[in-house]
Symmetry: C2
């Protein structure tokens, strides 16, 4: 008999079906046993008499007949809540060992370390699955938004030969007899490819040797990168980013309504265009609202980010806000200064729900300007050789932005720790399993 | 004035347009100058009198009027061949330095090292661009094929803590105070995720410390990985792979006809189902056809691969062929032996055009069987801890396959070297720029 997916049973009342999946929860009422069967499509209640023992999370096959539930026993919370399956035959495909904790609860009430120690098991909980189904839609929606706008996908390399922007938080790789590094960003590659394809995007792992364990940092991140040329203005970058974000939100709304409601999450509120403030304007507002004078700081502190997001929601009914015009000398060598006041740059952060979601902006495209900055920033020409090569041959005004898939997932779903938004989070204490504690250096 | 894309000019005869792009080729006929302008959509001939000097590959803006070309001057080879633009205004957006070689030829007649030394420039040639436009469609088609079959995308990690399958060709990473490695394959992650999502896929960079420079090997590869559970038979893997490949081919045929014809490439011929031979059957055929007795070899040599592909095309009219049932002890610990003869395994290679395209097969899913093999293969349990954890809790029969994006691009387009199918190829001699030669160790 052909396998039927769980959610298709509602169309097969009074029919015989064969189901495959996992024994999600098992309720034993003496002779009668209820098994909630979970497959990739959903969960369904199955009921049978005098069944063989099944342990939770075993992979099983059930043959039986779909019946309508009595009106008062309908479970409106799940898609298959109007039916159940009368078990005729039960087969254990692959038995599960005894659970180290109860997986059958509405929430997995585990501390983060335990959640990660048992990652291949805890991910099976439908709320854990929901996080990564949203993430998959988010990532694909980014790509489809880009493709609709003629962006060409490229595969950004991970192994790089030099670290032009400083090597403090970079991982070293032993590359045969030489030293190489893991890329912290595809920035230089995506910019130089504007000279080739005009518009490019990539979805790639990037690496940061974050020496501390925080709720927002991972050593390996999935970066969603976009870059494009022939800008008429730096504001073209904002428009492209806003279009992309809105497209991603609309796809999540369309394809993940079940997951959002399961997780009690709502997409950020937007009304009209996403507001844009210059850094100094934002700081002025913060000063007026709180009395805290941050008007000379080169960046917003976490507290400032929360305050300006509060303002945005209260005054502009928007949970997202762009902040532009950071001091030029606080940014990388490729940043494009605003000709109206070159001490500030066409750099743009996107903030949402009190935190930074993305950064981007317009980049320098004039070869001589770039060359001057390479020197001014204290870099070596040979470390940015391929980049310089591109701009030597006519690259138009360009810009772009980068979004972190895990952080976006975290902020959209209201998760407390970015590790919850990474299937296999890496930090200085963990690569899947906990790393053995580093031996203390002998004290002097 | 709004920018018009080059290919949209054919709809704007007698209209004024503003174009942006690169000066692809420039032909100076005294007072009259012809400029072929290239943008992301195509190329168009523009013509003007007494123009300022423009160097090839400069980014330029042209304002002018679209006119129909006289019948005898129509260029049927390009989409805009029926029109040209009479230049009214020419502006240099970003000038290009003098070319190190002629970019305006039909083919870029460069040796591979030069092609790569000037990567950010040579990629601009439309034949180079075409390679990576096909690759982008290929990669996206893989993902869309998977999504249509309910596969969930996941982000496979690159940094791993141990190398269960041996460390000969693995890159080491200095991970804070410890040692970590770059992943050679997402195999263990995709298999353990079958316990979570049933069906998963990933598109990720994988890393091989190939100690030699060949035409088929890179140190960094884009791997297209699929894995799924609840197999009824190992042949389900073949069916899923064939479906996926056919979908990828059909998308390339639909979206890349211009690129294929520009590159003189044709998609592999398929008729009926892709043929399947067991390794021993293939070797018997090779013996009968050539007299060469390879019937006890554990794998096909490159020569054997060419011969069996020839047979497949001649006898089955198929440029692709599956080879199954390799010796179990020549495969990794997770391979599923055929119960009918456990010395051979449910492992499957896909060959095409004389070379290997992919490998895959059914994996062991019974926890005890896996545990036995971990010991038999001489691995440490703690090196596959997360993997074992998953299979301890009920994983159904599963299998999958992996395709290399660069190799597929290479074989579909008939390229001679896999480096031509990688935007930024890495090997032991090059990471973008050539690596400085390693100093010879002092001779004893």
């Amino acid at each position: 008999m052909e396998r039927t997916l769980v959610t298709d049973t509602v169309e097969k009342v009074r029919k015989k079906v064969r189901l495959e999946g996992w024994a999600d929860t098992i309720r034993d009422h003496g002779k009668i046993t209820f098994i909630d069967l979970r497959d990739r499509s959903g969960v369904i209640q199955c009921v049978g008499e005098s069944l063989q023992h099944v342990s939770p999370e075993s992979a099983i096959e059930i043959e039986g007949t779909v019946t309508k539930r009595p009106e008062k026993l309908v479970n409106a919370k799940i898609k298959t809540g109007s039916v159940e399956v009368q078990i005729v035959k039960l087969r254990i495909i692959s038995p599960a060992a005894e659970m180290p904790f109860d997986m059958g609860t509405e929430d997995l009430n585990l501390e983060l370390p335990t959640l990660l120690d048992y990652r291949s098991l805890t991910l099976r909980h439908i709320k854990q699955q929901a996080i990564f189904k949203v993430q998959a839609v988010l990532v694909d929606a980014f790509r489809q938004a880009m493709i609709k706008k003629d962006f060409v996908e490229f595969q950004a390399p991970s192994i790089i030969s030099s670290v032009p922007e400083g090597g403090a938080e970079v991982f070293k790789v032993k590359y045969f007899e030489q030293e190489a590094y893991l890329s912290q960003s595809p920035q230089l590659y995506k910019s130089l490819l504007v000279g080739v394809f005009e518009r490019v995007f990539s979805v790639n792992q990037i690496f940061r040797a974050e020496p501390s364990v925080t709720t927002r940092h991972l050593t390996e991140i999935t970066s969603l990168d976009a870059e494009f040329g022939f800008l008429d203005s730096w504001k073209d970058v904002l428009e492209m980013e806003e279009y992309t974000i809105r497209y991603m939100f609309s796809e999540i709304a369309k394809k993940c309504s079940d997951e959002l409601s399961l997780l009690g999450a709502t997409l950020p509120k937007l009304s009209g265009k996403i507001p844009v403030l210059k850094l100094r304007e934002a700081q002025e507002i913060i000063y007026k609202r709180t009395g805290k004078d941050v008007r000379k700081e080169k960046d917003l502190s976490p507290e400032d980010e929360r305050e300006i997001c509060k303002w945005s929601l209260e005054e502009k009914e928007s949970e997202l806000i762009f902040i532009s015009h950071f001091p030029t000398n606080s940014k990388p060598f490729y940043v494009h200064p605003d000709p109206a006041d070159p001490t500030y740059a066409f750099s743009v952060d996107l903030l949402g729900r009190g935190v930074e979601w993305s950064s981007g902006g317009q980049r320098l495209n004039n070869y001589q300007d770039i060359l001057k900055n390479v020197e001014k920033w204290g870099l070596k020409e040979k470390d940015v050789e391929l980049y310089l090569q591109s701009f030597r041959y006519g690259v138009p005004p360009l810009g772009g932005f980068a979004l972190g898939a895990e952080r976006m997932t975290m902020y959209i779903l209201g998760l407390k720790n970015v590790r919850e938004a990474s299937l296999f989070p890496r930090d200085m204490e963990r690569i899947d399993t906990r790393l053995s504690p580093v031996k203390e250096k002998s004290s002097k």
